[in-house]
């Protein structure tokens, strides 16, 4: 029996972009490796073609004229933006030595975007575990990100503004940006390939042993193609990692809830970022705004990721197009990875929900966007250059990235359509504040509609889930333990659990509470055969075991002690300990009243009995001796009177049973 210490190091403060490290039973496991891209909102957009508007923005000079950052910072509609290649906020690197990480578990393709920064620059030598769709779509998203950045290279790299003294003097939100010195430019394709070469593929419910100490297993989380929650367990302890899960019936396989039962600790991240926006309602809103704009002769721009919700949007539109008389309206999907994304989604049949899986056997493409492409209603292009420019017809609907509106083809459409109030931009990705995203495009005439579609668990669903799976302890980001700041009265938008969840923030180190602290030890059959159990009480038998404990790869085995060497042989250098005849074991309890009576018979009369939490203390006043009678031990404290101690010991032994 030994006490197990389990630590959780929290390297990201963003609740839906998690990066935590779990130290559990001599393994160091990184749970997700998400990249906080919200930092790019502080940068100017990267236009695909020269933008006179952006190039004419005034530079920033402090009011007293002492600081001149004209080249680095530009002012637009009353806000400051960094004119440089956008940079990302990385997970915390200083909290622990990242080279000691044994494995990285990825829960979905949105939570692996920081992988190259960890695997390529920290001395990481371990393995990354992810499902196949996570790897493939993650690769697409990384590739897209790299292409967006590399397509519009900016020689300039702004660093002066990061100077603490200078940053302090800047207006918000630049002033309040945290950890700006750790922000990094985007990685290269080479780094992506190297990072992804370390990924080992796993399937749902597949059990992977880590050093014999723990077993990890991914479970379907229902959020996106191949998205998973993880079970990390030893023989006696179980940690569940729930990240980005959904109970809604969308395209992925449904969430596996039952396997999360009986967890000692459940680490809960990736709940919906929009607890008050119901995805169904938002999807409806998306469709009606889209139809309304097209009917009025305007264009619709949907800034989105090239995988994920877009599949559901296209499916919804597939049904809606005819009912809204949009049959002649062209739908364009523009992304360097558009083709791959649409095709990949059709081939991961085993990772899809039941309905879509059955379609594969018909055989039919699981997603209806195949039909949209076939009928020319949906067209996809790698970029606005090339074929697109010749096919382009208005009014139309364009799906393109990046949802931050700072890079990607979307920047072009913002410049193109922003001036007309007939056009509408519909935000569907919940990761970025739409007002911040639009800030460098102000003043803007086009209509803006915010329909964030976040299918991840909401507070109501998570409360129900936790009631069902009943973990002993829940660990979650600090943000989930109080209502959102903008809706401080909404007590329904927080986790209320008993016992209360353990909150964490960026850089927190939590000692996870484990009640059980046992280790599994195997007994070899020969040794087991030699045991002679004797029944202590009905159903409980005990036996003495003399053996050698052999520990290897975190597995412990009791082996038979070799026979004592014959006298004739030479002493071996490493002689195993010789087990002498075992002393008899005692069991039973010492009943207070009969014991006092026995003491009295032996002339010990002055006994003061004191009740303690564990038993009793008998103070033999005349003899100045203490007898502690406890549930699991008896102590006789008797100074310099060995005969008395022996007598008392013998009296105690009378009440106990020898095994």
């Amino acid at each position: 029996k030994k006490l197990i210490l389990v630590f959780l190091y929290c390297l990201s403060g963003h609740p839906t972009l998690p990066c935590n490290v779990l130290k559990f039973k001599s393994t160091t496991i990184m749970l997700d490796c998400a990249l906080d891209t919200t930092s790019v909102l502080n940068y100017l957009p990267l236009p695909l073609v020269h933008s006179p508007r952006l190039s004419k923005l005034p530079g920033w000079i402090s009011k007293d004229g002492t600081i001149n950052l004209e080249k680095e910072l530009k002012e637009c509609a009353g806000r400051l933006f960094v004119d440089s290649q956008p940079e990302f906020c990385l997970p915390e690197k200083e909290l622990l030595d990242l080279s000691t990480i044994d494995v990285i578990l990825i829960s979905n393709y949105h939570c692996m975007m920081a992988l190259p920064y960890i695997t390529e620059h920290t001395g990481f030598t371990g393995t990354v575990y992810a499902t196949e769709p996570t790897l493939q779509i993650g690769r697409l998203l990384m590739e897209e990100l790299v292409k967006f950045m590399e397509r519009v290279p900016k020689a300039q790299s702004a660093t002066c503004w990061k100077n603490k003294e200078i940053q302090r003097m800047l207006p918000g939100p630049l002033k309040d940006a945290v950890e700006v010195w750790t922000w990094k430019r985007c990685y290269s394709m080479q780094e992506v390939n190297s990072a992804l070469s370390k990924v080992q593929l796993v399937g749902y419910s597949q059990k992977v042993e880590l050093f014999g100490a723990v077993q990890i297993s991914p479970l379907s989380s229902g959020y996106s193609l191949g998205s998973s929650n993880w079970i990390i367990q030893s023989h006696h302890e179980k940690v569940s990692y729930v990240s980005g899960s959904s109970l809604l019936t969308t395209h992925p396989q449904p969430m596996d809830q039952s396997s999360l039962k009986n967890s000692d600790v459940l680490i809960l991240t990736g709940l919906t970022q929009m607890p008050t926006a119901n995805p169904d309602g938002m999807l409806g809103e998306f469709c009606s705004n889209l139809a309304m704009t097209i009917r009025a002769g305007g264009n619709v721009l949907v800034p989105c990721y090239s995988s994920g919700v877009i599949y559901d949007l296209l499916e919804c539109l597939y049904q809606f197009i005819d009912s809204a008389n949009l049959g002649t309206t062209p739908f364009y999907f523009i992304s360097p990875v558009a083709n791959s994304s649409l095709e990949f989604s059709q081939i991961f049949a085993e990772w899809l929900c039941h309905n879509k899986q059955t379609k594969v056997y018909l055989p039919e493409p699981p997603f209806p966007h195949a039909e949209l492409i076939q009928t020319n209603k949906l067209k996809h292009y790698p970029s606005i250059h090339g074929d697109f420019s010749s096919d382009f017809k208005q009014p139309c609907v364009v799906f393109t990235g990046h949802p931050s509106l700072r890079f990607g083809d979307v920047v072009h459409f913002m410049e193109l359509w922003g001036k007309s109030n007939l056009n509408t931009i519909i935000f569907t990705e919940p990761d970025f504040s739409y007002l911040d995203a639009l800030a460098p495009y102000q003043p803007l005439a086009m209509k803006c509609v915010y329909c964030p579609i976040d299918t991840r668990l909401n507070f109501h669903q998570v409360s129900k889930l936790l009631k069902e799976v009943q973990p002993l302890h829940v660990v979650c980001p600090d943000q989930y333990t109080q209502p959102p700041p903008s809706q401080s009265h909404r007590s329904d938008l927080m986790l209320e659990l008993q016992p209360p969840p353990m909150p964490y923030r960026r850089c927190s180190v939590l000692n996870l509470p484990f009640r059980r602290c046992y280790e599994r030890v195997y007994i070899l059959p020969e040794l087991a055969n030699s045991l002679v159990p004797s029944e202590l009480k009905p159903g409980v038998s005990v036996a003495n075991v003399s053996a050698i404990l052999h520990s290897k790869d975190n597995k412990h085995t009791l082996q038979v002690t070799p026979a004592p060497p014959s006298k004739k042989r030479k002493r071996v250098v490493e002689e195993p300990p010789v087990g002498g005849a075992p002393k008899p074991l005692l069991s039973g309890a010492v009943p207070l009243e009969p014991f006092l009576a026995t003491l009295q018979k032996h002339g010990i009369t002055e006994v003061k009995v004191e009740e303690t939490t564990d038993g009793h203390i008998l103070h033999l006043q005349a003899e100045d001796t203490l007898i502690q009678l406890e549930e699991d031990g008896t102590h006789i404290v008797c100074d310099n009177n060995e005969p008395l101690r022996t007598t008392i010991r013998d009296l105690v032994l009378r009440f106990l049973q020898k095994l």
């Binding site: 008050t276 926006a277 119901n278 169904d280 309602g281 938002m282 999807l283 409806g284 809103e285 469709c287 009606s288 705004n289 889209l290 139809a291 309304m292 009917r295 919804c316 809606f320 005819d322 009912s323 809204a324 008389n325 329909c451 809706q487 009265h489 909404r490 007590s491 329904d492």
Partner: protein
Amino acid sequence: MEGECFTLLPRVCAVLAAGSSLPDDTSLEKLLDWFSELTTAGVSLVKDCPCLLEFTSTVVNSATSDPCILSFTLKLVGLLASSEDGFIVLQESSVLDLVFNPGHWEKAGHWEDPCVRIGWIQGLRSLLQHTKALCFFVQAGKQCKWRPHESEEHLQHGLIEPLLQLQTDTSLFVASAASQILAHILIFYQPSPSLTHNSMEKNEAADKSTNPSTTDDGRCPFKAETDQSFTTVVMLISEHLKNSLVSGGDAKLHHAQQSLRLLVLLLTRLRPPLRDSLLHAVTDALEELLMTDLTPPLMDVILAAHSSSSSDVRIHRLVSSLLSTKKPTDLLHAAAAFLRRGLHDDVHTAQCARAILLPLHIVTGQLFLDMDPADEDLCSMAAQLQNKSSCISIICTCLTNSPLITVLDPSFLPCSLDVIISSILLMLRLCSGDTLSVSSGCSGAVRNVIGSSKVKKCALEALMSVSSSPGAKAEVIKVFTLLLKYLDDPDSDPTVFHKSYQVLVRWISVCRDPSSIPDQLKQDLLGVVRKRVCDVRWEVRDSTVEFLGRLAAVKVHHTTDTEAQSACEVLPGGSSSITPVLEEALLDPESYVRASAISALAQTQAPGWQQGAALTQERSEFVVRLLDVLSEDTEGFPRRAVVQYFISWFSSSASRSSLLRRSVRSVLSRGSADLDWEVKVHTLELAKLLLDEALSAHSSSTKELGAQCVHPYAVIPQPVYTPHTHTENGEEDTAALLETLVEEGVVSVLLSGLVDCDRPVALKACRLLIVLREALCPPSHTDLGTDRETVAKVSFLLPKSGWALEIIKILKTKNKAEEENAATLRSSNCIDELKLGEGYNKGWDGVSGAGCERMSVCELLSNLGLDERVKILNQSSDHVQNSPLSLLQDILSAGGAHTQPNTQLMQEVIVDCY
């Protein structure tokens, strides 16, 4: 048919008495219904159907009768004895004593069966229709021992005691029937007020009592000989109620509950002296019961007592105790019931208003009730509101009943009306998750209502009903803002959208001055409407389109002296901004939406029609589009809406444009050929309008404009149509009119409708054809010489295909029948006379080829047998299957099959089935 039935009845009785199987388990009930109908119609069953008497005595004396047959017999005996004559016959044959002696049934071992007990009760209920029956009811026990093991003293009050015992029967049906009959006895035999109060009335009543057995209100007149019996019954029932209204174990509670239900029946129907004495007997018991769990049924009793004797101090005290209950939900329901009944008094009305508003006070945190935070009622209600399910139900009860408060005299109100309106608004805000304005003390309750569609709907309903209360106008802007938020909320349930639109229309009509609404709100409303007609859910699109139609129909006045204006003006651009939205909705894939769009467009265009505005090019194109919908739309709803559109246009337009005339003709021909019977009925409605127009013109010309009181398009009473005058000019007019109706296609529509396979279509067409015939065609037997000929010459071209063949078939059949009946009549046959073609002369056998037949309209109408046809069509389609004759035949055949089973036949049937 009745005679035929009576012939079959003896055999039916024999089958029933033999215990043969029945066609189905409702046969006996149907048979009883028929007997009841006969009795009500004045047939004396005892005299006309002696076999029934024989049947009853056979069954009653048989030891092996089936309980169902027994039950039927008990009910039948009651029915036979419901008339005094029948009663005497049955009593003389001593069947009555035997049948209503429970001891007899107990001895025979049948009393345990609830269907026998209920038969006994219902038999008694039928029997107790005259004074002799009451005497029998009270005396019966004295003459026969109904329970041999019971002592004499228990038998001294006739059948009342077993009846009272049945009131607590284990079968709920029996118990309920017993309560009903107890109530019937007291209500039916209670002394008429005329005899006790007013001497004038007393004389009138005395006059009446000499003739019929009941008074005008269907109750038994009070007669001296029943006095004693009735007093005994009253005494026993009062005593029974008093003793049963006690708390205790489950059995006692059940008993008390039954008695409370009976009391409610009695208190609402009894008249003062009897009601007061009954109340007096039970008041103490009711007071004691208030301490138990019986509040809901008790509440009905107390409130019923209060409504009848509000001045009684003891009743007043009971109401006070009821409204002091410590159970929040009971208090709320009691207060609501009190106000719903329209009861008002100085003390309790205000108390009820507070009780109803209490949940609103707590949840909204508005604290408008001026209550101590430690108040016991407040605390217990707040505790109840913490629980989700009870919270929703309490809030809904509170909101549903809050309109009751707004109509009260302001002196009863604990706060001003505008506070109540703003609390309802606040509740609606809370439901949509806006919790910023709420104090923290009730967060648990607030949490329960967030997102609840049920609460939202109740609150919207409440908001709608308070729109007419004084002070509502001041809240219009707030209401608008909130409703716009609701309509913009993507998570709202479609039913909430629908309700929100309804409330908005109501408040717009309250507002009266659309210019007082800020432009931004108007703009927002238009934006929301444009968005919602594109909604994914068809229900929302439909509600939106429907809203636009209603908006167009609502009239608002800027000021009292200005002309009414359509509420569409509340939208920027008025009706011109909504027409494109509605026209777009015509292409909606959901047929309901297309139909609503057509109706809404009719409403938006109605003002133009009324003012006789000139038709624009777009409007003409739109009419063509609608006609296309009528011929091409695959769903019935839009097609029905199109016909209704033209009905509205035709009936409200000030002038008959050529487009309207042309379109109506087109609608008539397309609508009558539709597959949907409702489209056809609507088309006939349109035909009726044309007919009305023509006939009213005709009647006004023939009556020299004497019918100015008749609205040109109102349904004109039948007599106006009759051709009173037959002047030469009048006849020419009539002929011209008929000619027009033929040309417009009205006659053709009516004739095709007549032979339609859907009964409602055929019925309507038949009625209209009769109207046409009565109004324009002179009866053939009148000798009107040339006049008649002028009208009769108006002919109609009957095609030799489709429905026309059916018409020809009718004519042929009728003609054949006439030929057979009287050869002399052939000379007067219209077709002969008018020499309408060779077809007829060949006996119509050759009528199948192409071409048309020209026929005289009037002769055609008089030869179609419209009067017989309308009689047949008036009967429901299952009248043959449901006739008593069919029932009797069924019983006989089922009995026959049972008694003489043809195993081989049955075997064949079974084999066939499989």
